[in-house]
């Protein structure tokens, strides 16, 4: 963002990498493990067409339809579902859906939340008061219910691939906007009275320029933390929506929550493979993202950061936050 201040290379200034450098011990372990798990899922999502043995809505091949509810075997490594779909393939394709929804949801909520937060925090006045009250009202409401309402509005029965994915993403966006809004607003209020912003104003800089150059650039430090934690929550919300039958329809994309809903009926007869695999995929991906977010959070907070123990020397001065 800022002009390169020599010495520090680009790589060392990227959020996660710079955090890994600062961390030590358990925190570093958690951060690295989380990053690896997340990257693995990203890789699976990108390579889905290559590694998935079948397409997500394929329930027959040249030899005829696949057997239904078949236990894991050589042909179908993770078994098949009640509809004769290959569980492994659906889990792999599901990664793509999950990540796509999360990326859209987070991009949307960052853009909207940051804009609202900047304007509301910097300009103040009645807009600020109204937005704060609205954000406070939404904050304690069960996120899943809000997502259900939003997805009813957006999908309204239709569910092609993109409208389904967009509906789920926007439903999740609605519940995240207040979080970004609050953080950025607080930063904007703080920065408003800083000397460099005031001098910019005195010099006659336009409000837009002050907002996007001076305030925005200095208020984004906590975004990587919210982002990773939100990503994990987005996965859970998407799965919850799918589980209630309000996500993406099964013929247009593979979605883990929906598959778990179908698997519910299977459990009574001891069929475990249709539920355990998509469920495990959710847990693992959320775990990876949360480990990342958690340790970023701890590392950015000097009180929680573990420091390397050095014998004989004083501890190095703690840098505030992860600039």
């Amino acid at each position: 963002m800022a002009e390169p201040r020599a010495k520090r290379s680009l790589a060392s200034r990227l959020p996660v990498i710079s955090h890994i450098r600062q961390s030590s011990g358990l925190q570093r372990g958690m951060l690295v493990a989380g990053t690896i798990i997340t990257l693995a899922f990203v890789l699976v999502a990108l390579l889905a067409p290559l590694i998935a043995p079948y397409h997500y809505n394929e329930n027959r091949d040249a030899d005829g339809p696949f057997p239904t509810q078949e236990a894991p075997n050589a042909e179908h490594l993770w078994g098949t579902t009640v509809g004769g779909y290959d569980v492994l393939s659906r889990v792999i394709w599901g990664t793509q859906t999950a990540l796509l929804v999360v990326i859209i949801a987070i991009a949307l909520s960052i853009v909207i939340g940051v804009l609202l937060g900047l304007v509301s925090g910097y300009l103040g006045g009645w807009i600020d008061r109204v937005l704060v009250v609205i954000a406070d009202a939404i904050y304690p409401f069960p996120t899943l219910l809000l997502a259900i309402v939003t997805s009813i509005v957006l999908a309204g029965g239709r569910s092609t691939l993109w409208s389904g994915i967009l509906a789920a993403a926007v439903a999740i966006t609605v519940i995240f906007i207040p979080q970004y809004y609050r953080v950025i607003r607080a930063e904007a209020v703080r920065l408003k009275s800083e000397a460099f912003v005031e001098s910019a104003r005195v010099l006659g800089t336009s409000t837009g320029r002050i907002l996007f150059v001076h305030v925005l650039r200095n208020s984004t430090r906590s975004i990587p933390l919210i982002l990773t934690l939100n990503a994990s929550e987005a996965i859970l919300t998407l799965a919850g929506l799918g589980f209630l039958g309000f996500g993406i329809s099964p013929t247009t994309a593979a979605e883990w929550g929906y598959d778990l809903n179908r698997a519910l009926a299977d459990t009574a007869s001891g069929i475990w493979w249709t539920g355990v695999f998509p469920g495990a995929a959710i847990v693992l991906l959320v775990l990876g993202l949360t480990l990342m977010g958690e340790s970023l959070n701890d590392i950015a907070d000097p009180k929680l950061r573990l420091r390397r123990r050095r014998k004989g020397t004083d501890l190095p001065a703690v840098q505030g936050g992860a600039a």
Partner: protein, 364 residues
Amino acid sequence: MSLLQEAEAPADPPTPASPRRSSGGLGLGRYILVRALLIFPTVLILVTLVFFLMRVVGDPITASVGGRLTEAQLQERLEEAGYLRPIWVQYVEYLGQIFTGNFGRTITDNREIGDILVQYGGATLELVFYALIVAFLVGVPLGMVAAYFRDRAPDAVLRILAILAYATPVFFAGLLLKLLFSVWLGWLPLGGRASSRVQLALGRLDDPTGIYLIDALRSGNSIIIGDVLAHAVLPGLALGLLTAGVFLRLVRTNLISTLGNEYVDAARSRGVSEFRLVRKHAYKPALIPIVTVMGLQIAMLLGGAVLTETTFAWRGLGFQLAQYLGDRDFVAVQGIVALLAVIVALTNFIVDVIAAIIDPRVRY
């Protein structure tokens, strides 16, 4: 509810900022009054949001029965239900209804939303109660253990477990518990709130409360009590473990910061053992933030209850909501969601008042 929100919560309780700003040094009475007045804008905003969001799609009658009626019949139904009037008129009317406690009627089975609350609310309350018991029994002691072993192996294991509890969706936890304890081991029932014979027996009680635990205890029949409790174990665990993870983290963080206090140092210097410090000295102050974040937890539990009830066919509000969702009865959905908004606002109010009574700092 994200982990971040939990982490922030102790420092910034979910109380809206205004009472704190305005009540410099004023008493509890005034705090409660200001906080009570804040319920109205909160409910108003949520109900308005839900109303307009749901109306963007169109009217609920077309959504639920549109395909099955001719155009003329549809128009007639719409006219009858008042959906052809301007949206503002409908909105004002709707607010008036909510204000008098009328949340509308469902389309599919023409019932008052209020009746649905009366009939199924007890079941949800019961489930949330079981979940809270599990959360306290599991979360609080483990949080203390984690704080005691700070940054050592048991702490690391417990923290990972807490994250796992968060990462596992309640319906997947429920599915695994069902597979293990109901299908493979055969110890516990697969779902429902009681077996059908017990349900009949409970229905025959005079004036049943709908909360099976209370009804079963009143019947005094040990078989009935046992049956009701056996059905409660798995749903309670599935929903409770999620919250237990939150409690574990909260207790740990707060104990660690309380353990750094001077009065704890003083006790330590007098030779009080580290275990006793955790158990006696730092324990109570560290529980206060749990009360403060309970409001958010209730909201999370209600959201989780929808999923848990669907998983275990636990016929409560959430199960009913999912049914109406499946039937595309959006009046019912809108009504139940608005009702839940009111419940959430009220519980948050109660929790905030309790927090203010326990911890005077909240008032300022």
